[in-house]
Every structure is written in C-alpha cells, then in structure tokens.
Symmetry: D3
Subunit: 137 residues, 6 copies
C-alpha cells in the first residue's frame, strides 16, 4: 500500500473570467460578476499531494521542505500577487477558472516532480469553491 | 483525466436518533444522548462534489453559481432550520444519522445533476464526525 | 498588566426562538425560520476567558484542566444534546437567543469561578453569528 | 454590562497599494509586490461587531438577519468582485490598505447603524494579516 | 455503493527525526531543524476513516462513540503528551516521520477494527504538512 | 480612534511543565501529563497585535512584511523546532506555560517595536487553550 504526503501553500492573485471569442453580453451572461473588466481577486489555498513509497532510510515519501521549495520556485513565485490574465503566460489565452488554474499548476509541477510519484492538486479559490485535478475516483 | 469541483453549503437542523421498532431502553442504550426525545441539533456543513470534463468554452466543469442554486433549492430550502424527523419527508421512517442524511442528499441531487457528472457528498455533522457517500476507494 | 486564559468547549443543542407573550404571526414575523415550532439546532462553540495574575509557583492563571472540568460539569452536562427550551431550566421562560445563552452561561460560571478572575463568554452559534458577554469596550 | 453581537460576511476583490504622489521606485520600494500595476486580490473576511443592550421582548441586541442585510446592501454589493482602486469611489484617492478598507467600512456602516450601538470592524485580508477599527484598548 | 465515516481525534507529542545508522552531519543535513537532539513537537490532528455498509437497524456504519473510544484507548492514551522517540515502543527503532506515525496508527487500529471495514488514516502534523495511509488512488 | 494590525506566525516546540523547587509527586499532581520528563510538544499559533495611528503616506499602521520579519528574527528563529526548557534562555528557570511563553514573547517584541505602538500577544497552544498578554479589559 502506498502513502501520500500533502503540502499546503498559498498565493493571492487578481483574475477575470472571460472568453475572448464571445461578445461582451455573452461573457456577462455566463460569468456574471466574475467578468468584471477591472478584475477581482482571491486568496488561493493550494494543496499538492504526492503518492509513493516511503524511503527506507529517511521514512519520507518526499522531503516536505524540498516539496515546499519546488512549489514556491515554480508556482508561487509566478502566481503570487499577480494578475493571472495579464502576468502569467499560461493564461494569456486560457480562461483562469479554478479548474484551469489547478490543471496548469499540475502541468508545471508534473515536470518538476519525479514520475514515480502520483501527483494531485486541490485548489481552494474560496472556502466554498474547491477544485481537484485529477479527480479522485 | 477528469476534474472535480466541490461546493460547500450549510444548514442547521434538529434531529433525534431513534428506531421506532425498538423499545425505549434499547434506543437509549444504542443512541445514548442522541436519543433525547426533545431533540438536539447541529450546524451541518455540506460539500457536494461533481466530477467531469471541463467545458472548452467556459473552462468550467459546472457553473458554481448554478450548483449552489441547485443545492439551495432542492436541499437547503427543505433541511435548513428544520426538525429532520418531523419536517423532512425522507426521515419520517428513516433514522436521520449522518450516514442516512448524506445518502438522502445524494439521492435528491442525483435527480438534479446531469448523469455525465459523478456525484459525491461529504457531510460534517460536527468538526469531529464526518460522512462520505459514496465512499472513495 | 494582567493575563487572560481562554478555554474552548462545545455543545450541540436544539432550540426555538419564541416570545410566549406574542401571537403566532408576530413570532413568525420577528423570528422567521428560527421560530419553527419543531425546533432546529446548532453546534455551539463556547470560549470561556478568565483574566488574572499568574501564580508564581505554577505559572498558571488557572489550571486549564480544572477550567475545562468546571465548564463541563456546570454547563456542557446540562446543555449538550439537549433541547434548550424544554430541557434547560433557565430557558423555560427566557428566549434562547445566542445573547441570552451567553449571559446564562456567564451567570452559571460566575458562581463557580473565584471572584478574583474577570470572566467573559464568547459563543459561536454558527461560524457567522457570534456573541460576547460582557462586551469588551 | 453590555453584550456584543458579531456578524461575519465576505467579499472578494482586486487591489493595488500605491501612493500617486510618489515616483514608481518609491512605490515599489515601500509596497513591494503589493504595488503590481496589474493588481492582485484577496478573499476578505469581514466581522462587524455591535455592542448594546438586549431588547427585553426579543432577547436580541440586533436582528442578525437585518445586520447581514445592512452589510450586504451597503458594503458587500459595492466591494464584492470589484477592483477597489478603480470601482469603489472611496479608494479613488485613498490607498486601499487593509487599515483604510476597515475604516471606510466603519464609516459606511456607522451611517446605517443606530448610534446607540458601538460599532467595530475586524477585517481579515488573509489568514495572517488582520486589521481592527477602532482598536480595542 | 459504500459509505465512509470519519472521526477526528488529536494528540500532542514531542519527537525528533533521526537515523541512528547515520553520522550526525548526515542527520543534520537531511533532517535539518527536525533533527534537534532536544526534540521539538506538534499538535497532531488524526482522522480515522472506516468504509462499510450502514447497519439496517441503526443507520450507522460504526458507532462514532465506540470508534472514538477505540482510538483513545489504543492510540491517544499511548501517544498523547508523550515523546514519540522515547516513550512509544513502535518508534524505538523507527523514525517518527508523519508517514511512519500514520502507518503505525493504521497497524494498531487495523487489529481493533473489524475486517469488514476498510480503514484509512489522515494525519495533520501541522496545517501545512499532511499524510494519508493508505493513499487514495 | 486608533487602528490595530495583527500578524499571525507559528512555531513548533517541545516543552515540559515543571517546578524545580517541588518534589516529583507534587509536580506530577499539579502538572499531570504535561510534566512528562521526556517532554511533549505543540504547534503554537502566535498573533502579534500593534495599535497605533495609520501613516498618512502609506495608509499603514506598520508594514506587515516588516512586522513579520521582526517576529521571525527575534522570536520564531529562537523558538521554532526547539525544546523550550533546554534551548531557550528565558525558560531555563521559568516554567514554559502558555501564560509565561506569551509574556516572554511580549517582552522580546516590546524591545523591538517602537513605543508609540501598543503591543499585545495572543498565543494558541492548542485550538482549545489560548492565552492573551496583556489581557484586554
């Protein structure tokens, strides 16, 4: 049986939900107040989960200090105190919904975390809106 | 790989754990202080999880505003500030344990949420007593 | 300068907001869904704060184990898993609003806690509705 | 002795810390990443506290449903999913630090809440950065 | 479909991460400040999850009071207010990482919980470092 | 009216409650399981509150980044992942109760924070045991 470790990090960002291919009215109708052209923002709580076998010498799945450093250098440094639509390359042409942010973070970290570990992202956009990628079950 | 969205809602209710087919002593023995004939109550925290594929146009699995509205109109409006045993049809002959409440909510929402989405309920009766239906794994 | 210690305990209870001197319509108008004749309920989170001088021998304001025992024997044992309106003497003729519950708990504990300690109650009826007695400032 | 009631509400917003009278380098030096010209954002948790005497008929200091409605109509409707710098009149020429946001909310609500009640605002910009206005003690 | 119940308990303990087979410098290099020879400590939050079929008579998967008692008598009584390295038999020769603590708790409880129930442990060492055993998915 | 800012930081530490002037039995009787000679430990959550007047140029009471740095360099670096009894000078001859830890932190920070700001410490030893120094009211 495998073991999972989960590290929690956070970032604050502005964003706007918008589909450039749609007229303004449709954007307004579908995204409502999330479509505010001046942006709004969130405190994002990010949980990164790795599944693997504990190392016999250390008793670790993964050094949590190292995991924190990887998340900070590859995700937090690029997303924190940023405007996701304007400042983060991946969202120049991708709507920064919580679903898409979680998947983009997964893709960034999948490059950094050794393939022997399964990787899963859980992202709290607010206390009431949460996304998981990939979904369990 | 699929993505999950989770929406948190809440309701407050009174309930009593009781098996009508049992004598009072057995009810008291099995359910203890939860069997109080005058009822007690909880702040229930409800997490509704949908698993599916993000829509290419919106980047949404499911519009969280719409999900919140569905939960409110079909569950919260019927359970909030209610006595589950006396006021909610489904518990007239079903013991309102957290396990049964979670399953009943799942059955109500399963009728309202399109079949392409997997559905899972997590219900906090207190910070210390939690139920999931269906169980992951 | 004085020091404060705060102990957190909890209880679950059913209640109904109701003024017996008013007709039903007025009760319904003023208390809304909190007036449900079949009751509803809450997980109450109770914070009890004592202010005093630390004991030179122990470094304690008050032994937190002893404070927990006092709260449990005089408040929790009488309120937990109860119907406040029907099962708790103090609310037979007093509306169990959060304001009144906090004051009643203060009056019970004031008898049990030595007078050299200032006493304050903070009661969470839900995460969003909170009461303090007596109010700071 | 008086009693306090506290109501929690929330809003999400984008903002930028900036002093228009300063050159860019000074803004960058003082406000750091909070000075991002494209904005960043937060989930603000707002606690509004009223201190007064309970009404003898209701047992309420203030009807919490009414308090919630007052906060929503005068603050949340104007701040939620907004860019504080661009969309909210009060911050057109006032830096939207948490300190200033709390004071502005106090000034808005002070007009709406009867003078017999003391009023205090606590604002969480993040879990780690919190402001109170006016300060207790 | 099965249902899960989850019970939350907690314990406070001191520990030190250390591999006796390694020289001091290597222990220091790998475990950093967690290798402090005088120990440090945590408030551990423990979630125990059982998956099974609800009993038709009670509506319970498992009596939560009984589950709490089993966890307290077999785990909390042995771990709480202890030094894991010195006071707990299982860690005399096993590094008390969160991964190993979770697995040891699983092994203890697996002996106590009937085999018809799947068992899973989630352990919060801090709000930011979390372990699951066995890992879901 | 003044404004308060509050910064939350945390540290993990081992400790033992013990009065060297007392015989073992009395220590055991008074401090119970907190007297374990091998130590136990906690995740301490520390809130540091400064009360003052906002600066007209910045809108800040105090730069929260600077406040965090002051707390980290003078308190967290000396307390985190430490054994309070053995590793922290101030507790060599002072019982590390939460009350005493809060006062020691106040004394350390009072030297570092300009006198124009009132200073208050709130320390969570666990979710259920909390200390304030100096006490409000």
């Amino acid at each position: 049986m495998k073991t999972a470790v989960i590290r929690k990090e956070h970032f604050n960002a502005a964003h706007r939900l918008h589909n450039k291919a749609w007229p303004e009215e449709k954007n307004q109708e579908v995204f409502g107040k999330c479509n505010n052209p001046h942006y709004h923002g969130h405190n994002y709580e990010l949980f990164v989960k790795l599944v693997g076998e504990p190392d016999a010498q250390t008793g670790y799945i993964y050094d949590m200090k190292k995991l924190s450093d990887v998340i900070k250098s590859s995700v937090i440094s690029r997303f924190d105190h940023k405007n996701l639509n304007l400042d983060v390359e991946e969202f120049k042409n991708l709507n920064p919904t919580a679903e898409n942010i979680a998947r983009v973070i997964w893709e960034i970290l999948r490059e950094k975390i050794e393939k022997e570990f399964d990787l899963k992202i859980t992202l709290y956009e607010t206390e009431r809106n949460i996304v998981e990628y990939p979904a369990e079950s």
